[in-house]
C-alpha cells in the first residue's frame, strides 16, 4: 500500500502507538519487530492485545506479514460496548488495562470490559494500583459518575492466571482541562495486601511490616487484607501489597510489590515484601516531591530510554498527559516527578500523532524544605478533541 502512515521500528511502545493511532485516526506501520531476535515477530501477548483492540473497534484493518515482523494498522471507529477478553498470561491484565483506560472515554458506547488472566504480576501495574491511582486521576478530568468502576472479581497470580477484572467507563464528548499543580500534603495511606492459595496469615504479616515503616510519618494508615479462596483465587499461589498515598488536594501516589511467581526467582518473605514495598512508596513520594535529582534523572532516564513525581505518580504519567493532550482548547498544567523513559517516548509519540508539544519547566526545590527531590511542570494547550462518535441520547 502506498500510504503507510506513521512508520516505527521495533516492538517497544507497542501499546502507545496503537492507542494513539486509534485516537488520531492515523494509520501506523511498525516494522522490524524483533527482526534480529532468535524468535522473531510478535509475541502471543501482543497478538492478544491486537485482538482486544479489534474487539473494541469497528472497521479496524490489521495486516501482519508472515514472520510477524511487520504490522500495518489502519484504525477504525472506537465502538466500545460489552467486551470479554482473555488476556495472555505472559503479561498481566494491567498491560491491556492501561490502554483501555486511555481509550475508554472516547468510545461510541460506554465500555464494559471483562478481562481474564493474571491480575497482579511483577512487570505491569496491578489492577489494585490502577484502581487506587488511575481511577481518581480520571475523575480529575471530569470522568466521574457511577459508570466508572474497576473491580477485581477473581484474583489470578502468575504463571497460571485465572483472575477476572471488570472495568466500566462512561464516555465523554470532551475532556476537561486540568490544573494539577499543587499536590498538597499526604494525608493518608491506603493499601491492599492480598494473598491467594497461601496462608491467610501472609497478608497480615505484610501489613505489619509495611506499617512499621510508614507509621513513622503518618498515623492514618489502613491496609486492607484481601484473601480470596476457592474459585476466586485463580490457579497459582502468591501474595503482594499495593500501597497508595493520598494528598490533601486529591493526588495519588502508588507503589506495589508482588511475590515472585511459583517456581521462579527467590521465594520472598512477607515481612521483607512489606518493608520493601513501604520503601518503594517513600521513594515514589521522594521523586514526586523532589527537583535537584531531576538533572541526573533525566539523563539517566534518556539513557535508559524515563522520569516521575509531582501531582501524578510514575505509573499514570502518560495517562494524564494523554488526557491533557485531548482536552478542550485550553491550557492544562500538571506537575510531574522526573519523567520516566516510557513517558518521554510517549511525549514523542504524541508529537508525531497530534502535533502537540508540551512546555516543560524544571521546578527546583527549596533547599531548606524537607519535601524531597525535583519535579517538572508540564503545560500544554489541548488539541480540542471532540468525541464525535459518542451516541446522543
Amino acid at each position: 500500500m502506498a500510504n503507510k502512515g506513521l512508520v516505527y521500528d521495533g516492538c517497544n511502545f507497542f501499546r502507545q502507538r496503537l492507542v494513539l493511532s486509534l485516537l488520531s485516526g492515523k494509520r501506523v506501520t511498525i516494522r522490524n519487530i524483533r527482526s534480529k531476535d532468535d524468535n522473531p515477530g510478535l509475541r502471543d501477548f501482543e497478538a492478544s492485545f491486537i485482538r482486544l483492540m479489534d474487539k473494541i473497534t469497528n472497521g479496524t484493518r490489521i495486516e501482519i506479514n508472515q514472520t510477524g515482523t511487520v504490522l500495518s494498522f489502519q484504525p477504525g471507529l472506537l465502538y466500545g460496548g460489552s467486551v470479554e477478553h482473555e488476556c495472555n498470561p505472559q503479561r498481566s491484565v494491567g498491560y491491556c488495562l492501561e490502554a483501555l483506560l486511555m481509550l475508554a472515554p472516547f468510545m461510541k458506547n460506554s465500555l464494559r470490559a471483562v478481562l481474564k488472566g493474571v491480575t497482579n504480576d511483577q512487570m505491569d501495574p496491578s489492577v489494585d494500583t490502577l484502581k487506587a491511582s488511575a481511577i481518581p486521576l480520571m475523575k480529575k478530568f471530569g470522568l466521574d459518575g457511577e459508570g466508572l468502576e474497576l473491580k477485581v472479581v477473581k484474583r489470578g497470580m502468575p504463571p497460571g492466571g485465572g483472575g477476572e477484572v471488570l472495568f466500566t467507563c462512561p464516555v465523554r464528548r470532551t475532556i476537561r482541562p486540568v490544573q494539577l499543580t499543587d499536590p498538597g500534603k499526604i494525608k493518608r495511606i491506603r493499601g491492599t495486601a492480598y494473598s491467594v492459595r497461601v496462608s491467610p496469615q501472609m497478608a497480615n504479616r505484610i501489613v505489619d511490616s509495611a506499617r512499621s515503616i510508614l507509621n513513622k510519618f503518618i498515623p492514618d494508615i489502613y491496609i486492607y487484607t484481601d484473601h480470596m479462596k476457592g474459585a476466586n483465587a485463580g490457579k497459582s499461589p502468591g501474595f503482594g501489597l499495593s500501597l497508595v498515598a493520598e494528598t490533601t488536594n486529591g493526588s495519588f501516589l502508588s507503589a506495589e510489590l508482588v511475590s515472585s511467581p511459583q517456581g521462579q526467582g527467590d521465594p520472598a518473605l512477607p515481612e521483607d515484601l512489606g518493608r520493601k514495598c513501604a520503601t518503594l512508596l517513600l521513594e515514589e513520594i521522594y521523586r514526586y516531591t523532589s527537583v535537584t535529582r531531576w538533572t541526573v534523572s533525566i539523563e539517566d532516564a534518556l539513557s535508559k530510554l524515563g522520569c516521575d513525581g509531582g501531582f501524578v505518580d510514575s505509573t499514570n504519567q502518560s495517562l494524564s498527559l494523554l488526557y491533557m493532550t485531548l482536552g478542550q482548547q485550553d491550557v492544562s498544567k500538571a506537575l510531574l516527578g522526573p519523567l520516566s523513559p516510557y513517558t518521554i517516548a510517549f511525549l514523542r509519540h504524541v508529537r508525531d500523532f497530534f502535533q502537540i508539544m508540551f512546555k516543560m519547566e524544571a521546578q527546583k526545590h527549596e533547599e531548606e524544605s524537607q519535601k524531597g527531590g525535583d519535579k517538572v511542570l508540564m503545560t500544554c494547550v489541548g488539541a480540542g478533541y471532540t468525541n464525535i462518535s459518542k451516541t446522543l441520547k
Binding site: D9, G10, C11, N12, F14, R15, N32, I33, R34, K36, D37, D38, E98, M123, D124, P125, K185, I186, K187, I213, F217, I218, P219, T248, L280, L282, E283, E284, I285, Y286, R287, Y288, T289, S290, T295, I298, E299, D300, G306, C307, S314, T315, S318, L339, S340, P341, Y342, I344, A345, L347, R348, R351, M357, F358, M360, A362, Q370, K371, G372, V376
Partner: protein, 132 residues
C-alpha cells in the same frame, strides 16, 4: 593620591575639583553594583543554563543515532552476513513495552536523613507560613 585607593569610575578621573571627587567617593559604594551589569547577567544566565537542562530539547530533540553499526557487519565468504541482535544501536526499539519505571535503589531508607528529606510531604510535617 586619594584616587589610587578607590577609583570605581575611571572615566571621570579627569575632573580636578577636589570637592566633587569627595562626593563621588561617597556614592561610589552605592553605585558599585552597576559595574559590568551585562557581564554579570551573562554569567548568571550561563550558570542557570548549565544547572537546569533544557528539558524540551532533551525530550523532543533529535536522537543522534550511530549509523556506523551497520557497516561493520562481518561477512562470511562474501555471501552471508552474521545477523546479531543489536546491542548499542536502537537499543530500545525492541525492548520490553512496560510503563513501570524501576526506581533507583540508591537511597537507603534506613537512614534518618532520608526519612527526614520527605517529612514535610506529609500533613504531619511543617507547613509553609501562608497555609495551614
Amino acid at each position: 593620591v586619594k584616587r589610587s585607593k578607590v577609583s570605581p569610575q575611571p572615566e571621570k578621573k579627569d575632573e580636578d575639583e577636589e570637592e566633587e571627587e569627595e562626593e563621588r567617593k561617597e556614592s561610589a559604594g552605592a553605585l558599585q553594583w552597576k559595574d559590568g551589569l551585562a557581564q554579570k547577567a551573562a554569567e548568571a544566565f550561563l550558570r542557570q543554563q548549565s544547572a537546569t537542562p533544557n528539558l524540551r530539547k532533551l525530550v523532543y530533540g533529535t536522537v543522534v543515532q550511530d549509523e556506523k553499526d551497520n557497516e561493520d557487519e562481518t561477512e562470511l565468504g562474501g555471501l552471508f552476513r552474521v545477523s546479531r541482535p543489536e546491542k548499542s544501536k536502537r537499543e530500545h526499539a525492541d525492548a520490553l513495552d512496560c510503563s513501570r519505571f524501576a526506581p533507583d535503589a540508591s537511597h537507603d531508607w534506613d537512614q534518618e536523613e532520608m526519612l527526614a528529606s520527605i517529612r514535610d510531604c506529609f500533613v504531619t510535617g511543617t507547613w509553609e507560613g501562608d497555609k495551614d
